[in-house]
Assembly symmetry: C3
Homo-oligomer: 220 residues x 3
């Protein structure tokens, strides 16, 4: 397969990083009782914006993209500070940010999956790399805040949306669809599933549902 | 040192991944009160099965093996789903799975240590890489579930078993024993220590024991 | 930019690792109620000493330095065991260890930032790598102990001290100051800020201060 990475303009990549950072900082700002200080909020925001891309590049054996240019860290830090200072404003824009975020996980997933294919990784790892790119930032955020990883909870199909988009993208590339078109379709798929999940409150069944009769009362 | 990696057949490597994933999923399934959903259980299982190998390859500067073939992720995900669906069955087989798991940490440790030696790493880092390969999956599992890392608790000498096997393996290779034989002996050592520890309830003393008179009432 | 890494003698690098490990072990020893066993204390100490350097090398795409020599792991493990066994003694030396630790984060930051510059990374990533080198060990420690990351709390400007030193160092190198001199100045800056922060109890304002009227009662 001679896929090339689904390259998007630098400004779009940076916009995705900025939205991630902004959201990370807004998220961290809510936890007053954890006594996260200003620096902590900035660090968590930055880590949320950059985490997915750094994990992606570590998985595929590349020097992280965010380490190869001054723009990524600058953007991430400024967006985190902005989110921290303008909490109220951004909170009123919550709907708009949810839309941007859905676009962001779509873009990150598409960039990650095509980058993996371009480096010669097989199809299933490419899908995995796409998912990690999309959700990695929020996992890093939750690890740093010592919270249960949001993705593991009954939620809004965050990872499923990323996985479906990345899988469709990879399948299209395998069947000869040009990478830019496949990237667009993958991004749109993730974006749509994510927004529909938010809109209609979709969630996966809890694992409780599978085994109705309680067997273990206590975890080991 | 011209050690070659202790190569085991692909099916054995995948079996080890499968057992790790299965156990990870069974473990995660128990925590009802954490509201881990079906996807969460699958993710935790997969991460448990693949975590050790991915950490190993990141430490030695290689592209993770699980990213270079479709088999690893497929196996890990299917084993996690199987573990989730057949909780009851596998719980009845707990003894059998403990045996398979002891074999798995032995194999992972031997693969990790010999892979490190084959890349020219010195002896002590090679032992370290072996231990990380063996226990990394369970560390990743506990991080994702926001639990105290099981390995840190008073436990069943999980890491010690892995360390002893890897150290013996590396010592044998240094003294000229062929890698396959050293790998077998290392695996058998880890396997035996782990099973004996489970059988006889061995554990390390808590650090409490070392300093009987309490000095700090409060952690800093 | 043709910066060379700010190379310090191996013994100084190992001393920094040893101080990190010692502190990590002393820190872990305090948490009796978490039932961390002897092995757990040794693991946490070792991870604290080596974590910053390993994260640094993963970020810049190098095989971790600690994997390329027998000295790093040996030093880290011995220092952790020493810290565990001689808790009382070292606790009486707390002031001295704080000074050594301030020197350690200064050195780690300078080594990390100059190593990044020497590999051709741009300025801002180089500062970031310096900060991660300096504070990474304590982040890994807190992750393994399932504690809120100390750096995120209202604290003593730990990360700020590292960031200021690394930023000054990189700025000096950009303006043509020879790397060894820039490294010394950066180390001294971090060292001084850190010690002054401890001495005068400086801390950053909590994010609470920024938005006095509570808006969210509950985190999402």
């Amino acid at each position: 397969m001679s896929a090339t990475a689904f390259s998007i303009p630098l400004w779009a990549d940076l916009l995705a990083v900025a939205i991630g950072s902004l959201q990370g900082a807004l998220f961290a700002s809510q936890f007053r009782e954890r006594r996260v200080d200003l620096l902590g909020v900035a660090i968590i925001g930055t880590a949320t914006g950059l985490g997915g891309g750094i994990l992606r590049d570590v998985l595929i054996g590349e020097v992280p993209r965010a380490m190869q240019s001054n723009w990524y860290l600058t953007t991430a830090v400024l967006a985190a500070l902005l989110g921290m200072l303008l909490q109220r404003l951004f909170n009123r824009l919550a709907g708009f940010i949810t839309i941007l975020d859905a676009l962001t996980i779509g873009l990150f997933g598409a960039i990650g999956a095509t980058k993996a294919l371009a480096l010669g990784l097989p199809e299933i790892p490419a899908v995995f790399v796409g998912v990690v790119s999309a959700v990695g930032g929020s996992v890093v955020r939750d690890l740093l805040m010592n919270l249960t990883i949001a993705m593991m909870h009954v939620g809004s199909l965050y990872a499923v949306a990323a996985g479906a988009g990345a899988a469709l993208l990879v399948a299209l590339v395998v069947f000869g669809v040009p990478t830019p078109l496949a990237g667009l379709i993958g991004t749109a798929t993730t974006f749509s599933i994510r927004l529909l999940a938010v809109r209609f409150g979709w969630s996966l069944p809890e694992q409780r549902a599978l085994s109705r009769l309680p067997r273990w009362r206590r975890p080991r």
